[in-house]
C-alpha cells in the first residue's frame, strides 16, 4: 500500500542552510548538498528546499544549489520560496527539481496554477497554502481559517478551505498546508484544519508547521487525526533531536504505513561512477 512520506525541509539563504543542520558526520553543517545527501542516506522520502533569500542574486544562488543537490540525490526534490512567474518554475525544473512550490503568486493570480499545470504537468506543481485561525464569534458552527501570505504577514481575506478546494480544482498536484499559528511552536500541527483540508481536496496534502516531537508527526499522518499524506519537518531533524530512521521506526510501531529505512545494498552513490 501507499505509504505516508517524511519530508525534511531545508531553508536556504544565500546558498547556505539557515541555522545549519547539526547531526553526527557532517563536516559542513551549512552546506545544502551535504545536508540533502545526509537526509537522503537516512531514508527521507523526499527532500524540500526553501529559498528564503528573496533577492535577485539569491535566486541565482538558489538555482545553483538546486542543481548541485539534484545531482547528488535520487529522491524526489521539491523546491520553493519566492517563485513568482513561469520562468522561475521553468528554471527550477530545468535545474533538477521534480516539483516546484508556489504560494503568494498563486493567490495573486490563481490562473497561474492552471497554466503551470497545463504546461509542466500537475505532478510538477505543489501549491503551498499558509493559514491562520480567525478569532471565533458566537454561533460559528466551525472554526474559520483565512489564507495568509508573505510569511504570514499579510491577510488575504480568503477562506482557507475554499481556497484549498480552488487550488485543487485549478490543477495543483499536491497541497502543502502550513498553519502559521503553529509554525515554530514545536507544539504540533493544527490537526483540525489539516484534516478538514485533507478530506476536502482530492489531491495529496502535506502537513507543515509545528512539529516538536515524533508523536506530532504521527498525529499529523494518522487518518483519523491530521489525515495528511505527508509530513514536512525541519527543526526536529536539523538539530539532531531525532533521525529520520527513528521517526520511521516510531511511526511504524504506531500503525502509520511508512517505508522502512533501508540500508543500501548492491549500489553506492558517489560522485564517481558506480563501484559495487
Amino acid at each position: 500500500m501507499l505509504k505516508r512520506r517524511i519530508i525534511p525541509c531545508l531553508d536556504i539563504k544565500n546558498g547556505r542552510v539557515v541555522k545549519g543542520v547539526h547531526f553526527a558526520g557532517l563536516r559542513d553543517t551549512g552546506d545544502p548538498v551535504e545536508a540533502a545527501r545526509a537526509y537522503d542516506g537516512q531514508g527521507a522520502d523526499e527532500i524540500c528546499l526553501l529559498d528564503i533569500t528573496a533577492t535577485v542574486e539569491g535566486r541565482e544562488t538558489f538555482i545553483d544549489v538546486v542543481h548541485r543537490v539534484a545531482d547528488q540525490i535520487f529522491t524526489p526534490l521539491t523546491v520553493g520560496g519566492g517563485v513568482r512567474r513561469e520562468p522561475d518554475v521553468r528554471r527550477l525544473l530545468a535545474a533538477g527539481a521534480d516539483k516546484v512550490a508556489i504560494n503568494s503568486a498563486a493567490v495573486a493570480n490563481p490562473l497561474m496554477i492552471r497554466q503551470l499545470a497545463d504546461r509542466y504537468g500537475s505532478q510538477c506543481l505543489v501549491v503551498a497554502v499558509d493559514v491562520r485561525k480567525m478569532p471565533g464569534r458566537e454561533g460559528d458552527p466551525e472554526p474559520l481559517y483565512e489564507v495568509v501570505i508573505h510569511g504570514g504577514t499579510r491577510s488575504t481575506g480568503l477562506d482557507a478551505l475554499s481556497w484549498c478546494e480552488q487550488v485543487a480544482a485549478l490543477g495543483a498536484g499536491e497541497l502543502l498546508l502550513t498553519s502559521m499559528d503553529k509554525d515554530g511552536t514545536r507544539d504540533g500541527y493544527d490537526l483540525w484544519i489539516t484534516r478538514e483540508v485533507a478530506h476536502r481536496v482530492p489531491i495529496p496534502v502535506i502537513a507543515s508547521g509545528g512539529v516538536g516531537s515524533l508523536e506530532h508527526i504521527r498525529e499529523g499522518l494518522a487518518v483519523d487525526q491530521g489525515g495528511a499524506d505527508a509530513a514536512l519537518a525541519a527543526s526536529i531533524f536539523h538539530f539532531g533531536l531525532y533521525t529520520i530512521a527513528q521517526a520511521k521506526h516510531y511511526l511504524g510501531e504506531h500503525g502509520i504505513p511508512i517505508r522502512p529505512h533501508e540500508t543500501p545494498r548492491g549500489v553506492t552513490i558517489s560522485t564517481a561512477s558506480l563501484t559495487s
Partner: protein, 206 residues
C-alpha cells in the same frame, strides 16, 4: 566497458535525473531526439511524464514511434519509464482515447476517484494522482510513483511486478523478452531504483 544507452528525448519531461541515474549505475549515456539515432541504438531508455495527447500522438504516429518499434522488434533491450511504459500498450482512455505503440496488449486507465480509504463512514477517498512510495510484489521493495493513470495489461504474463492502490492492483513493472517497463520512477527511488536500473543495464533484465 560501460553499456551504451540511448536516452530518448521526445519532449516528455526533464531527462537530467534519468541520465544521472543511468550514469551512476555504470551506463554511458547519449541523449537523442533523432529517430535515426534511436532506431540504431543497442539499448534504449524511454522516459516520459505527462499525459497521452498531442505530444504522444506525434511520437506514436511519427518517425520516433517507428524508431522505437524498430529497436523493440530487433530484440535490443528497451526500458519505458512511467508514461514511457504506458505508451508500450495499445491505448489510453485519456483525452477521449489516444493510441500507444501497441507493443504489449492492454489499456491505460485513470484511477477511480471513488475508492474509500478505510471502512469508516465518511472516510475520505484515495487521492489521485497516486504519489509517493509504494511496495511492489513479489519483490517487496518500495519505489516512488507519481501517476494518475495505470495500465490494465491484457496478458498477465507481461506483468513482472504489481502494486496496489486502493482496490486497483496494477503493473508496477512489465517485461516481455527485451522490452521492459517501469510505472515508477527508478531515478527517484533511491537504492531500489538504482538497483533496478543497474539490473537493466547489466543484463537487460529488471
Amino acid at each position: 566497458m560501460p553499456r551504451e544507452v540511448i536516452l530518448v528525448d521526445a519532449n516528455l519531461g526533464n531527462l537530467d535525473s534519468v541520465e544521472h541515474a543511468l550514469i551512476q549505475v555504470g551506463a554511458s549515456v547519449h541523449i537523442s531526439s533523432d529517430p535515426d539515432r534511436v532506431a540504431t541504438a543497442r539499448t534504449v531508455v524511454f522516459p516520459g511524464q505527462g499525459s497521452f495527447g498531442p505530444s504522444t500522438n506525434a511520437i506514436i504516429q511519427g518517425a520516433m514511434g517507428d524508431a522505437l518499434r524498430m529497436v523493440i522488434e530487433r530484440g535490443d533491450p528497451f526500458l519505458g519509464i512511467c508514461l514511457g511504459m504506458q505508451l508500450l500498450f495499445d491505448s489510453s482512455e485519456e483525452g477521449g482515447g489516444q493510441p500507444g505503440l501497441g507493443v504489449l496488449p492492454g489499456q491505460v486507465k485513470r484511477f477511480p476517484a471513488d475508492m474509500p480509504a478505510g471502512e469508516m463512514v465518511g472516510a475520505r477517498m484515495y487521492k489521485v494522482p497516486h504519489v509517493g512510495w509504494n511496495d511492489c510484489q513479489p519483490t517487496n521493495e518500495h519505489f516512488f510513483f507519481t501517476h494518475s493513470y495505470y495500465v490494465e495489461a491484457a496478458a498477465p504474463e507481461d506483468v513482472m511486478w504489481t502494486c496496489r492502490y486502493g482496490r486497483i492492483e496494477f503493473p508496477a513493472a512489465v517485461n516481455r523478452g527485451n522490452v521492459f517497463g517501469a510505472q515508477f520512477h527508478p531515478q527517484k527511488s533511491q537504492w531500489s531504483g538504482l538497483r533496478f536500473l543497474r539490473s537493466f543495464i547489466l543484463g537487460g533484465r529488471g
